[in-house]
């Protein structure tokens, strides 16, 4: 009897408790670093919004027109399908209704459209629904149209698709447009470029910068765990890229050749665990998306990467996520920290923010510092969006 019991217990233990792989983040440049800088709130800025404009925008940014030294806040309003912008000094919002409709007469400025504000006379709009990029002028006329993704082509076997947003905006570098891409579930991610470089002059497409090998070693959860964020240093033409489940930031040239990399971690979490050790879970037909959500929203990770061209620094967002029980009761909103590094990816500071107060997806950087919109103020007064300005201060 004892023998049967022990054998049974042995099998139970062996079968039921496969240990999850754990990837520890190197302590150097995450917990151990020269803490020289922190973000300190110094000012705020208020933008009035009309009755059909709400707080959150899938695509929004604060941009500076260098030649005029004027800042503009711009966003897409999917409710009335317009691009809106206002300058910081004038505060009056201008609306542009682009003449964009597809064959079904559906407006292409939708909930998932993103924009790039060049100046008040020209914008780029990417329609995720149709895979098209539009260059429009100040009154909404289409100057040029580019086919980025052909969803209707049955021969299109592409595994990656551009998925820009405020969190991962598309950018322009001379004649190239660069997009961060999402990827269809795979069991082998080797060699699949996650940044699309599209040339506006010759329409050439090139996918560069594949996911790191870590992605082939396990299943990491919801699709956003596979979405990279990149930042361009325009002075040196260097692309830095960050992946949600890797502590490493990679730098590459504009052809995707890796120059160097460094582990840039957060002092708020020391490891990253996959959802399942088995990478092949990704292609199972009976995936439990509810469980994936719970796992993904309760495991900390990395997100937005920004290059501050005014200070020659990088900012990497780390999401400090609630625990599983909190997510299960509906509390999914994470706090976040902004990791500050110098141009060589050496960590020099980290500041934590409440996710209930600030929205990091709409964060912008100007020469004054970083701007974060306030959710708490919007709850009190829905006629304006207030941004807090944080300056980088020496500790």
């Amino acid at each position: 009897m004892n023998r049967i019991l022990y054998i049974g217990l042995f099998f139970c233990f062996f079968c039921c408790s496969e240990e999850k792989k754990t990837f520890f983040i190197p302590e150097n440049n995450s917990k151990i670093f020269e803490n020289k800088y922190a973000f300190v709130e110094v000012d705020s800025m208020s933008f009035p919004i009309d009755s059909i404009t709400t707080f959150w925008h899938y695509s929004s940014a604060i941009n500076k027109i260098d030649s005029d030294s004027i800042y503009f806040y711009s966003y897409i309003n999917s409710f009335d399908h317009s691009i809106n912008y206002s300058s910081l000094d004038k505060q009056k919002t201008k609306k542009i209704f682009a003449n964009l409709k597809n064959e079904s007469k559906l407006n292409l400025i939708s909930e998932t459209s993103t924009h790039l504000f060049i100046n008040p006379n020209q914008f780029f709009i990417y329609s995720l629904d149709t895979g098209k990029l539009f260059h429009i002028d100040s009154i909404g006329n289409i100057k040029n149209e580019y086919g980025i993704v052909d969803y209707n082509n049955a021969n299109n076997t592409s595994l990656v698709f551009p998925e820009p947003s405020s969190m991962n905006p598309f950018i322009k570098s001379n004649d190239d447009i660069l997009f961060s891409c999402g990827i269809k579930s795979q069991i082998d991610y080797s060699g699949i470029g996650m940044v699309l470089k599209y040339n506006l002059k010759n329409n050439e497409k090139k996918y560069i910068l594949p996911l790191p090998q870590l992605y082939n070693e396990a299943f990491w959860g919801s699709p956003f765990k596979y979405l990279p964020s990149f930042a361009l240093n325009p002075n040196e033409n260097i692309l830095a890229i960050s992946y949600p489940i890797s502590s490493y930031v990679y730098r590459a040239d504009l052809n995707g050749n890796i120059i160097d990399s460094a582990s840039v971690g957060s002092k708020y979490f020391s490891k990253i665990e996959p959802m399942f050790n088995d990478v092949e879970y990704a292609i199972k037909t009976d995936r439990d998306y509810g469980e994936e959500d719970i796992f993904s929203f309760s495991n900390s990770d990395f997100s937005k990467l920004i290059y501050d061209r005014y200070k020659n620094l990088y900012y990497r967002v780390a999401f400090i996520r609630p625990n599983e029980n909190e997510v299960k009761i509906g509390d999914k909103i994470p706090d976040f920290s902004i990791i500050i590094t110098d141009n060589n990816l050496k960590k020099i500071g980290e500041s934590k923010f409440s996710g209930k107060i600030y929205d990091v997806s709409m964060m912008s950087v100007t020469e004054h510092g970083i701007w974060l919109p306030r959710k708490d103020y919007y709850t009190l007064d829905q006629s304006k969006i207030i941004f807090s300005l944080f300056e980088l201060k020496k500790i």
Partner: protein, 152 residues
């Protein structure tokens, strides 16, 4: 030894069975508690349509449109609508007119009790109650809901 093994096997099987039955029972109890937390009158209704703010967007739009179409036709004493997961009320009111929201059988789950994973769903849900007890929960379907309205 054989009798001991048989004994443990029976205990195991009984345990498994009672677990299965308990799960559904607990879920419906939890639903009753959730409804009461939102508003104490909700357990008095016979049919409740719960519409999340995030999830299957086509399903959510359809359920919302259905509720708006039917609001004047349905019995406000027996049928209720609950909206849950609303982050931005201004945004929500752009899509759902206030004239619909002021109906006494339309509720907003301000504290997002229905976002708890015990009861949440990415799909709109139809909950049936009898004698203040939840007796079923299923994904909303227009024609099924129409039939329920006829019966009630």
């Amino acid at each position: 030894m054989k009798s001991r093994i048989r004994f443990f096997l029976i205990i195991f099987i009984l345990f498994e069975f009672s677990g299965c039955k308990n799960d559904k029972h607990n879920e419906y109890d939890y639903l009753n508690d959730t409804l009461e937390k939102i508003h104490m009158s909700l357990n008095n209704y016979s049919i409740i349509l719960v519409i999340p703010n995030e999830g299957c967007s086509g399903c959510i739009k359809e359920a919302t449109q259905y509720a708006i179409e039917k609001v004047d036709a349905i019995d406000k004493e027996t049928t209720a609508v609950i909206f849950t997961g609303i982050g931005d009320m201004k945004l929500f009111k752009l899509h759902v007119d206030n004239s619909f929201l002021v109906n006494r059988n339309v509720f907003i789950d301000d504290n997002n009790y229905f976002m708890n994973s015990e009861v949440s769903s990415v799909y709109p849900q139809t909950i049936k109650l009898k004698n203040r007890k939840v007796i079923s929960k299923e994904v909303f379907d227009r024609s099924t809901f129409d039939n329920l309205l006829l019966v009630n």
